[in-house]
Amino acid sequence: MKNYRILGLFNNFEEAFSALHDIRASKVPGVTIDDVTLNSPIEHPEIEEVLGDRPCHLPKFTLAGAMFGLVFGFLFLASAQATFLVQPQGGKPVIPLPSNFVLVYEMIIFFGVWATFFAFLFLSRLFRKRHNLYSEKVSLDQIGVIVELDKSKLDSLKDLFKQHKVLEIREEDIR
């Protein structure tokens, strides 16, 4: 039962990385790398690798948006142009593909971009209330390692953090 949340603030990525590495190596029994969240002032793909494979499905949303733009764009234009069926066209096509290509191209990008944006908001879990362990020092220059765990493992994890020169430890009861 994970009823506690603990935050360790580290001075640099190397120390945070070694602490994460030890958690991954199960040096605190009952705490796994899946219980860990890393907070950092910059993006750091290399250190995120130690957290294991955490897939991001954002490109699927982008593709869906772009496909919607393609289909909707063409149907929208074609249906609008089809209203001209009642008028003489003078030999010109009712649905002209070259000019529609330009507009559909723009609509693919338009819907692709907006789908990406909304997927970003959704998948990043933004708009959520920040929990009490959020530290403003993370936006300055420190690295935060947040772990959700059972209270009985708390002391072992604190010891592990201290081995890796943790600067500050905060904890909260999340029952």
Binding site: L51, P59, T83, G112, S124, L126, S139, L140, D141
Partner: protein, 463 residues
Amino acid sequence: MIVSEKDINEQIKWAQINTDVLRSLENPRKAYWVALFICFAMFSCAVVAEVYQYQVGLGPTNLNNPHMWDMYIATFVFWIGMSHSGTLLSAILHIIHADWRKPIYRFAEAMTTFSLLTAGFFPMIHLGRVWNLYWVLPYVSDRGHWPNFRSPLAWDAFAISTYLSASMLFLFIGMIPDLAICRDNTTGWRKKLYTAISLGWTGNDRQWRTFRKTYLLMACFLIPLAVSVHSIVSSDFAVSIMPGWHITSFPPYFVAGALYSGCAAIITLFVLLRYFFRFEEYMTTAIMEKTAKLTFAIAMVWTYLNLIEFGATWYGHNMYDKELLIAKATGPYAWVFWTMIFCGMVVPFALAVQKFRRHMPTMFVVSLFLNLSMYFERWMIVAPTLSMSHQSHQWDVMWPSIVQWAIVFGSFGWFGILFLIFVKVFPSISMYEVKEMVYHRKREAELEGASAATNKPNLEGAS
């Protein structure tokens, strides 16, 4: 010989980056208020002129047959062009991992957005009947008529609105981590504002992972989009049969011109921000050198495309095009033409000289010349063709009236107001990306140091 410097001092502390950038958001100095007042005064001129034009119609602008397009459209193309470098270069440099973009891309992207917002005014103003603007929107009218989707003007409406929304999103998404830094370091109304618009960013690994992919995908979308936008703007001219407009190379010529004017504007704003916000530590001479080299390369592309156009016309068999080219070089607009040639093709050679590239006042002056050339280029595209078209009985030289001048002048004021407000409300340097740059440069230096120590020959043993 001048030794090349580092793009950034990698020893700078992360906390120092926050302090320096957040300081630029503090209470403005007197010079800021003076600049804002000047911009506001310029914008006021445009408002007065537009109110007058609204009341009496397009007559006082001198717009008439054959000059149905003129300074408004030239200025529209100028601002659209200006908008290109910010987002396009930021996206390209992001994809190719050119990290020297990091201290300068934020204000360049803001420039893109504000240029587009400024450009958007001109079709409205040029309509004369502003209240009928909604006619360009793709909706069905009372009599079942849609806009003509075959017209490049309708393509413009689609392309520019897509580009505006994508550029704004690109700018906003790239700013979210910095807005969280602002939220954590400010008080009062600023804290409320940044709390709302940072959307609850905490910098956890999930957010960074999603952010990285989002930013990359947006960059991938923006590159073809930006190219398409100016190609479509060029189609406004190129799909007609008018001499001087019906040219195959117009789309790449417009894109190169857009990048050129955008780069020149980046240099202008670079020097101003560096001086007024004391960003010497971040907007370094090394980064200015790279920006200047890029501008020089684009200037040469633009020059090449110009010469191709002149050559193709000269050696071609279209007498109307040829007469127009001669008229451009020798007629009433000749001084504009030769100024364009001098400022756009000759002045950029200053960028090939390292001593000039490293001297900020020189770069500032050069960038103003380049932008002047780009403005004249747009004028030379629009006005001479309409002055000397196929029908000789319609030939007419036209110069803009004071109403047009006032509105164009005011558009620079409007851009200035938006930009000045932006740099005081939002960080004009990306703090988290500069931190990344410093971190990675430091790591590289350490690794190089370690590698050099390992590979050092054992001189003692050798002796």
